[in-house]
Subunit: 326 residues, 4 copies
Amino acid sequence: MTAPFRPNEKIIDFRSDNTGRAAPEIIAALAAANEGTAAGYGGDEWTALLQHRYSEVFETAVRVFPVATGTAANALALAAISPSWGAIYCSEQAHVSVAEVNATGFFGGGSRLTLVPGPHGKLAAEALGAALAVAGTGQTHRSQPAAVTLTQASDLGAVYSLDEVRAVTAVARSHNIKAHMDGARFANALARLRCTPAELTWHAGMAIQLRRAGQVWSKMRFAAAQLLAYVEDGLWLRNASQANAIASRLAAGLRDLPGVAPLAPIEANEVFVKLPVAVMDGLEADGIRFFRRPGDIARFVCRFDETADEADALLSSLQRHLATAR
Amino acid sequence: MTAPFRPNEKIIDFRSDNTGRAAPEIIAALAAANEGTAAGYGGDEWTALLQHRYSEVFETAVRVFPVATGTAANALALAAISPSWGAIYCSEQAHVSVAEVNATGFFGGGSRLTLVPGPHGKLAAEALGAALAVAGTGQTHRSQPAAVTLTQASDLGAVYSLDEVRAVTAVARSHNIKAHMDGARFANALARLRCTPAELTWHAGMAIQLRRAGQVWSKMRFAAAQLLAYVEDGLWLRNASQANAIASRLAAGLRDLPGVAPLAPIEANEVFVKLPVAVMDGLEADGIRFFRRPGDIARFVCRFDETADEADALLSSLQRHLATAR
Amino acid sequence: MTAPFRPNEKIIDFRSDNTGRAAPEIIAALAAANEGTAAGYGGDEWTALLQHRYSEVFETAVRVFPVATGTAANALALAAISPSWGAIYCSEQAHVSVAEVNATGFFGGGSRLTLVPGPHGKLAAEALGAALAVAGTGQTHRSQPAAVTLTQASDLGAVYSLDEVRAVTAVARSHNIKAHMDGARFANALARLRCTPAELTWHAGMAIQLRRAGQVWSKMRFAAAQLLAYVEDGLWLRNASQANAIASRLAAGLRDLPGVAPLAPIEANEVFVKLPVAVMDGLEADGIRFFRRPGDIARFVCRFDETADEADALLSSLQRHLATAR
Amino acid sequence: MTAPFRPNEKIIDFRSDNTGRAAPEIIAALAAANEGTAAGYGGDEWTALLQHRYSEVFETAVRVFPVATGTAANALALAAISPSWGAIYCSEQAHVSVAEVNATGFFGGGSRLTLVPGPHGKLAAEALGAALAVAGTGQTHRSQPAAVTLTQASDLGAVYSLDEVRAVTAVARSHNIKAHMDGARFANALARLRCTPAELTWHAGMAIQLRRAGQVWSKMRFAAAQLLAYVEDGLWLRNASQANAIASRLAAGLRDLPGVAPLAPIEANEVFVKLPVAVMDGLEADGIRFFRRPGDIARFVCRFDETADEADALLSSLQRHLATAR
C-alpha cells in the first residue's frame, strides 16, 4: 500500500488517548477473528462470548452493544433512559454537553441537558439535589427530570470516589430518576480507585439501558473481538495503570515547579495546568504535543504506551521555559 | 347549553393574563367573520387582509402565521432559525426554558437552549458576548451558535429598553447569529416604551422567520379575524396600557409599604414580590387570587379589564396582613 | 373593523366543510364563555365539564385534549401509540398519508406509514392481515408494526360499517397492535350508521391515547366551550345529518344522469365523480365551487348549511353541461 | 485470548457477504496503521490520503466520511439531501425500506420513503416519473419530493445498467430532486458493468452529500486505513469480480436444472431462486448455508473467497435433491 507521508519529526505526544496506537493485543485479536465465516449482525460466537465475559467482569448479567463512538454510546444510552420531554442532569464540563454537538437532543427527540455545578468537572450530589428540588416534577409545563449522567473520570481528569458515586446515585434514586455513567476513562478510574467494575457501577446504584440506531454492525465479530481482547488478562486495567502512572509521575514533578498548579487533582491520566503562552510555545518548539484550551490551559493526556522518559522530557522542558518566562 | 357550575364566590384575580376574558372586540370579530363561505387553510380574505394590516403596523412587509399557542410560535420560529445542531441563547428565566417542556428541542430536531445570565429576567448583551466568545464556532464537536431569543417583557415583568434590544442584536449580528423575540407581553412593552412596533423589532435588528407543523388551520378566517381585531383602532395598545396602568398603581402603592420590594422594575403588567407565607394566606382569605412561586414569591398579573378598585383592594389587604405579620 | 373586501359574487359552494361557517351555536358558546376569569391551561370549569360530557357521549371514561388542527390530533395520537421504530398501517388514500406532509413521522420521531389497499378509500381487514403476516415482527432490521389508523368517513366519502371496523380491530388485536380512528367526518359516519359513538369506537375495539406538543392552550375555556356546544342537544349529529341529506339528494339526482357514476358509495357528505373538463368548466361558469382532483375527478362536499336548492342547482347545471358535452 | 467455541462442522456458506472474512489486505492495513501517534477525529495522514485516493478513483473531488454501518451511511446521506418534510423515492424492495427499521425517518426528522415499482428490485425511471407527476410539488399539505435512492446492485441481485442509471437521474433532474446511490454491492456492479466508478455515479448524474451524527471516529486512521487498502491495486474490483464469477458459475449451472429459474438476472454476487422446502432442507443437511426468504425463496450470496468447488458442491447437492423432490 502507498503509505501516507509522515514527517520524520521526533515528537513527544501528550495530546490525547485518541492519538495513540491501539493496544497490539487488540490488533492481534482482529487478525485472529478473521477466520472462516460467522453469522452477521451479532449472531456470531464472539458476540455471544462477549456477553458472557463482560457479565463476569461486571459480576452481573449485562448486555453489551458495541457502537462506533463514545458519542453514539452516550446519546443512545441517554435516549433509552429519558423520554423526549425529559431533563438529563450533567456536570457543566461534561463531555456530552461541551463536545458532542447536540447528539443527546438529536437521538432523544428533544431531550435536554441541564447543567449542575461541582468541583473539578464533577457533578456534586448536593447541587443535583438542589436542582431537582425546584425542577417542577409533575408540572406539565416543565422539562421532567429523567436521568443524571456522570463522566468517569471527569473531563478535568478527576475521579469520582465510590462515596461520591454513591451520593449521586442516592439522590437520583430518591427523586426516581435514572443514573448513567459515561465511562470515557473508566479503566483509568478503576485503576485509580482499586475497586471492581461492579463496585463502581451497579453496586453503587447504576441503572443502565441501551438501544441502537445505525449501530448494528454486520461483521460484528470484529467489534466483539476487540472488546474481548480489551478485558482479557486484565489488559484494560494494565494499560490504564500504566497511563495513570505516567500522569502521577508528571504530578510529582509539577509539585517541584513553583507556581504551576494543576486545575484538578491528577487522579486518572489527564493533567490540566495554566501556563504562560510563551511556555506553551517553548514546549511545542521542543517537539512536545498537547492541546491548548481557552484561558491558557494546557492539557496533557498520558497514553498506555507513553514512557517515563517522555514524561521526564516534558518536565525538564517545562522547568526550562518557566525559568525563562519569569 | 348546560353552563358549567361556577361558584358564586367573589374574587379579585391577579393570576395571569390567561385567566381573563378575551377582549369583547375579539369575540365580536369572530361572530362577524362567521358569514358566508371562505376558502380554507389561509386562502380567505381575512388572512390576506391580515398580512396587509400587520405589514402596516410593523412598517415593513411581514408574513403572519397564526398558530395555536405561544409555545408553538416560539418552537416553530426557533426551529426555523436554528439547525438541529444549533445552540439558542436565552435568559436563565426565559419562558422557552422554564415553561415550555422541551418544545424547542423537539421541534428543532435536537437544537439546544444555552442559558445566559442577566438582571430581572433579561439576558445581558455583555454576557451573551462572553458566552459566544468561548462557544467554539466552527469546531465540529460543539453545538454551533445559531440564535438568541429575548422575552419582551421579561418573565419577571421587566422591559428591554430600545438600547438594550439594540445591544443584544448588535452582539448577535457581530457573531452572525439570528435574533428572535418572544413577544409574550409585546404590547405591554410597547405601551411602556412609547415606541413603535418597528422600532422595537426590525429597526432594532431582528431577523424573523417562521415555519409550521400541525398549525395550518382549515377555517383560518377565525384566527385571522381575531388578529385583525387585535390591532384595529389600537385595541392591543389600549388594552396593554390599561393593564400596565394597574401595575403602575400597584407599584406606587408598594412604595409606601415598608419592606416590600419588587424583584424587578415594574415596567409591564406583572409584579413579583417576596412576601411572608402568612401574608399570602391572608390575601387569599380576602378573595385575592395570584400565583405563588418557589422562594415565597408572589406574582400578580394585571389584565386589561382589571380595575383600579381591585388594585386598591389588593394594596389595602396587603397593608393589613403585613401589619399583622410584623 | 375594516371588513375584508368580499366580491359580491353569488356562488354555490361545495368545496369543503372548511369553507363553511361555524355553527351559530358554537359562536354563541364562545361569547357565553367570555365571562369572568377562569384558570388557564385547562384548569377551568368548561374543560372539566368537557371531560364529563364526552364521557357521557362515548359511554366510557374518556380524556379529551382539544388541539388546534386535525393534523395535530392525528400526529399526536399516532405518536402516542407508536414508538419511533414503529410502522403505522393506513389506507392508500388516508388523509394522514396524502395531505398532512410528514406530520406523522415528525411528531413520531421517525415512525412510518405503511400503505394498505382497500375499496373506496378504506383499508381492508384482509389486506391488513396479509401485510402484518410478512411484516417481520420481532426482526431487528424491520419497522415494527405498531398501529392501524382508519379514516371515518374515508377520504372518498365511504363509511366503514360497524362490521368493517370490527374486522379491522380484530386483526389489529390478534397482531397486538393498536387501532386509531381519524374522526375527520365522524359525525357524518354516525349519522349514516345510526349507531352510537361508543359502538363505533371502543365497543368496536379502539385503543385511544393522546399526548401533546405545543397544544396546551392557555385560555382553554374557549376551546372547551366550542366542543361542549358541539355535542349539546345533538348539534353535531343534527348538522351532520343535514349535510348527509344534501349528499344523498345529490346521489339520487346523479342516478338519473347517464354515464355519471360516483367513485365510491355516497355514505357521508362527500361526492366524488369523474367529469369531462368542459363540464367542470361549465359548472364553475354557473357559479358552482368545488375541488378538482387529478384524473378529472370533481369533489363536492356538503355542509350542514348547504340547501336543497343549492343541490338542485348543481344537478341542473350538471345535466345541462353533460348534454352539451355529449 | 480465550477463543470462542467454534463447532468443528464443515459447512459451505452462501449466507451473506457479511458472514465472510475481511480481505486479508484490510487486516494487514490495520496492523500497518498502528504505528506512532496521529491526530484524532480525522486530522491524521491516512484520512487526508483517503480524500486524495477516492478523488482519483472517482475522477472528481469527493469528500469521504467513514461511518460504521451501511444503515448510518444511507440515513445520513438521505438526511443531508432531504428536508424533514421531504419524500424520498425508492424501490419497493430497497434495503432502506425493508431492512433498516425507520432509520431514514429518524435521522431525517420525519422524512418519508415513497415506494416505486420496477423489475428485479430496481426502481423504474418511468414509474418514478409517474409518481412525481402526481406528487403535489409545491402544495403545502403534501410531502415534498426531495430525492430518489437507487440500490446498486439491487436487493434481488440485479444491476442497474448505465442507461438505467442515466434514465433515473434524468427524471430526478427534470423534477429538481436529488439522486443518491446506496452502493451496497457497488464494486460487484462495477465489475459487472466494466465501467468506471465515475461513469456509474456523477457522470451519470449523481448528487452526493453526507453529514454525520455520532459517526466522527476518534481513531479515524483505522477506518481510513481500511478504506485505503480497499481500493489499493484494485482490491475491491478484484474481490468483487471473484464473487461475481462464482455467482455466474452458479447461474450457468442453474440453467441446466429444469424448473429452477432465478427471480432476477444474476448480475452481481447474489442468486435468488424459489425452491421446494424439502430441497432447501436437503441442502442444509449437506452442510450448505444460505438464507430463506418468505415465499420459499432461497438466497445465495457469493463472497470473494468462495471457491468454484463450493459452487459446484451447491449445484450438485441441488440437482440431487431436486431429483428426489420430483
